[in-house]
Symmetry: C2
Subunit: 213 residues, 2 copies
């Protein structure tokens, strides 16, 4: 399972029903050497985007088929975790608050300053790159953790709890020798040489898995 479509360039995805705005972004970003793709509605974008897409998103708030806020929710549900910047002509306070509370990086009103948008987008790209770095680190750990057998996981739990092999053996009703075998397999699979490292790696795999908000 080598992660489906990796190795794509970080790209800015602009979703806006207004063609002049799309063209503006296309021009603004491409002349600054930033890969850009534009979409005229939320559906088009949802069909094209992939969960591991590197980059960031610029959303219009008001679109024909789906509002930017709804699109934001759909992306979150799908696990598409890219920085989002809202750009809107007629946004109100409550929408802005909702967007930012839901994790949007910023919410800017038209007309906007080109340099501001540009630096904002660069920040988004940098943030996304940083985040992908952390995720991939954890993915390696998660992968190694997944290679453990059920029995090895039971042993791991108890090692993490600080139980000595003798107690673990009693717990699982097996001999100390077997516990030793499991233990060495765990250390081997997780690529660690000491209990200290083992705990740190396993902890990373537990907390870093889901709770990465």
């Amino acid at each position: 399972m080598p992660t489906p479509g990796m190795n794509r360039r970080p790209t800015v995805f602009v979703v806006d029903d207004d063609e002049s705005t799309r063209e503006l972004f296309r021009w603004l970003l491409s002349t600054n050497g930033i890969p850009v793709e534009v979409f005229r509605c939320a559906q088009d974008f949802l069909l094209a985007v992939r969960v591991d897409q590197p980059g960031c998103v610029v959303l219009d708030l008001r679109m024909p088929d789906m509002s930017g806020l709804e699109l934001q929710k759909h992306l979150a549900q799908r696990g598409v975790d890219v920085p989002i910047v809202f750009v809107t002509g007629e946004g109100n306070v409550s929408q802005a608050v909702a967007a930012v509370k839901a994790g949007a990086v910023d919410f800017v009103e038209k007309p906007f300053d080109y340099n501001r948008i540009l630096s904002l987008i660069r920040e988004c790209l940098a943030r996304n790159a940083e985040q992908r770095r952390r995720v991939s680190e954890r993915q390696g750990v998660a992968c190694r953790l997944a290679s453990l057998t059920p029995r090895e996981r039971e042993v791991l739990e108890r090692v993490m709890a600080g139980k000595p092999n003798r107690v673990i053996a009693e717990d699982l009703v097996i001999s100390v020798k077997t516990v030793e075998v499991h233990r060495s397999h765990i250390m081997e699979k997780l690529e660690v040489k000491s209990v200290a490292e083992l705990v740190q790696v396993a902890l990373l795999g537990h907390f870093g898995a889901e709770g990465s908000a």
Copy 2:
């Protein structure tokens, strides 16, 4: 150092230059059994608040001496980490975004629905209670960690790195016997019985100290 002024009731602090609004909040909250204190300007509140104050804050955006956003910054700088709700009559989108990006729980416009504000404030109080619980847990760990001598900390680092006593001894140019002594003192002070627990406790003290956003 038994934490200066703990044991105060969670209170809602309302800062608004408009007296009728202050009285409205005083009535709304006290009739719902929620302790409330009101302030007419940011300075008054800054002089009264303490770093470990449990509760939450309701801020007017526009005030004579200092804007709500500035007050928010001042509180953050002082380390006063309480949930903040902005309430304003004439807020714009950029202010709302700034407030939420700076960590505000919400940003509501007048006139507001009493029940909405009430549930929002209850959420803030609950969130603050939860946060204080986590902080106090970590404080215990931080306290025990602080009781380690410099030498013990040097040993701890290397134990965390998974080095055996023999290597630690070579590292610090001391005998293995001395390392054993330090090690047992560490285990005693941190109140743990195994390396596994030791690593988890020490890790909590390292990550939980500052990075609790």
